[in-house]
Subunit: 260 residues, 2 copies
């Protein structure tokens, strides 16, 4: 049996909520599965989501270039203590669960700012191998780790489907799942989406909790989303998908390899 | 000549930046065009991006349901003063410019939290007409207003193109342009994207500034993105696109009406 270290990132303002109940259920399941879990409950931590000069020990009188200042502070071990604590949790973790309610079709600001502040240059981007090759989209700091989004949404399921007015949910999640987690090297499992989340009956809750338990049971083994690797030969030197792949097609879906 | 009130929302931590220079250029252009401008410089305002019970005068001992609490506070005129000030600027404005650097393929947290906190229920969602019909996606509080994204991105242009590894930029912006601005009723103009933003030469800056001036000159008249209206007959009762429209296709692109 595979034992994993799991970092559960929780970004809901109210623990006495469907989201809180799902988190508690998930943590019980992880414990029963023999995994270790740590929780970053961003509201409870009063997490500061705003990138600022102070994160980097940067003199505010000097012009701030976020990428350069963050890379310098990261290399020097001078990032804010709250950022370093989250980076240490990520280093410890074999898997990340990213749980949030869908607000305006994206993450709550407190969670977006967890990525903005923790995923600094040198840690999650601007990472190279000894030959100078850029490590991203399938390679990088999070390589070998797994990640899964647990999403609650007020919208009903059809409206988040492939032709639903709110947008196909995996494409709404592309900036997070592909542009952040996969960018940093993590294998991203299919998201667990709980639609109609503001009107879940007790019976529906049991069904959602059961699906969550199943997804956590398969956390070590489930097949990740088949995002294409930057260094796998599918992209040209301008990082454009080569013409023989998904020929004639455009948009976010072309970055999924078919038939896997 | 059409004179407009323009709200310029600026979400960069450093005014002494390409972003700051573009903002200043844009504000000069608006003034020369005879428009009135107000600026919400979120970093300078030290904007708080985190939705919390205190926004709504909500008793923290009681369970918080954000949608209900925000709607109650909005109706009662009891939202936090900082939120009401932004709502008043929006009410004043004929057009919104939303300017930000692309961080992890989305908005900086401080800007996401501007939408999270200001676009409360009753103001930007959960709005109905007297017959009880939901007003969103082309109807709503922002109907009659125009909005345009001004985006700077470190990535180079091909990588943000239709087959670029970072994702087609208008689809990365879908949660904001379609899911937030169009949802609330605004007509969304094509975004102005400045790629390669961390290495812009003086000559390139002049070209970008010129494009910005052109876009601001056509702010009252430019053709908006052809997003489909919720109440225009294109969607069925489950809010799924009817099968004869974009037949057989899926994903975010189906929500643009062709040939317009």
């Amino acid at each position: 049996m595979v034992r994993m270290n799991v970092l559960w990132i929780f970004a809901h303002p109210e623990g006495r909520s469907l989201s809180g109940a799902l988190r508690d259920e998930g943590l019980r399941a992880l414990s029963e599965l023999g995994h270790q879990a740590r929780v970053s409950d961003l509201y409870a931590m009063r997490w500061n989501p705003v990138v600022e000069a102070a994160d980097f020990g940067h003199d505010p009188a000097e012009r701030l270039v976020v990428s350069a200042a963050s890379q310098r502070a990261h290399t020097a071990g001078e990032l804010s203590e709250d950022i370093r604590a989250e980076q240490e949790k990520i280093a410890w973790a074999d898997a990340l669960i990213v749980q949030f309610p869908l607000w305006w079709y994206g993450m709550p600001a407190i969670l977006k700012g967890w990525f903005d502040r923790v995923f600094v240059k040198g840690f999650a981007y601007g990472v190279t191998d000894p030959s100078g090759r850029t490590l991203r989209y399938g390679d990088g700091r999070l390589a070998g780790k797994r990640a899964m989004v647990l999403l609650t949404a007020g919208a009903r399921e059809p409206s988040l489907g492939p032709r639903g007015i709110n947008g196909q949910v995996d494409q709404l999640l592309f900036p997070l799942q592909h542009g952040t987690l996969w960018y940093s090297g993590a294998s991203v499992l299919p998201p667990l989406v709980v639609p109609g989340a503001d009107r879940v009956s007790a019976e529906e809750f049991r069904a959602h909790a059961g699906r969550l338990r199943e997804r956590l049971a398969s956390l070590p083994t489930a097949e990740p989303l088949p995002f294409r690797r930057q260094n796998g030969g599918d992209y040209d030197e301008d990082l454009v998908l080569r013409p023989h792949l998904a020929p004639g097609r455009t948009g976010l879906a072309v970055h999924y390899a078919p038939g896997t």
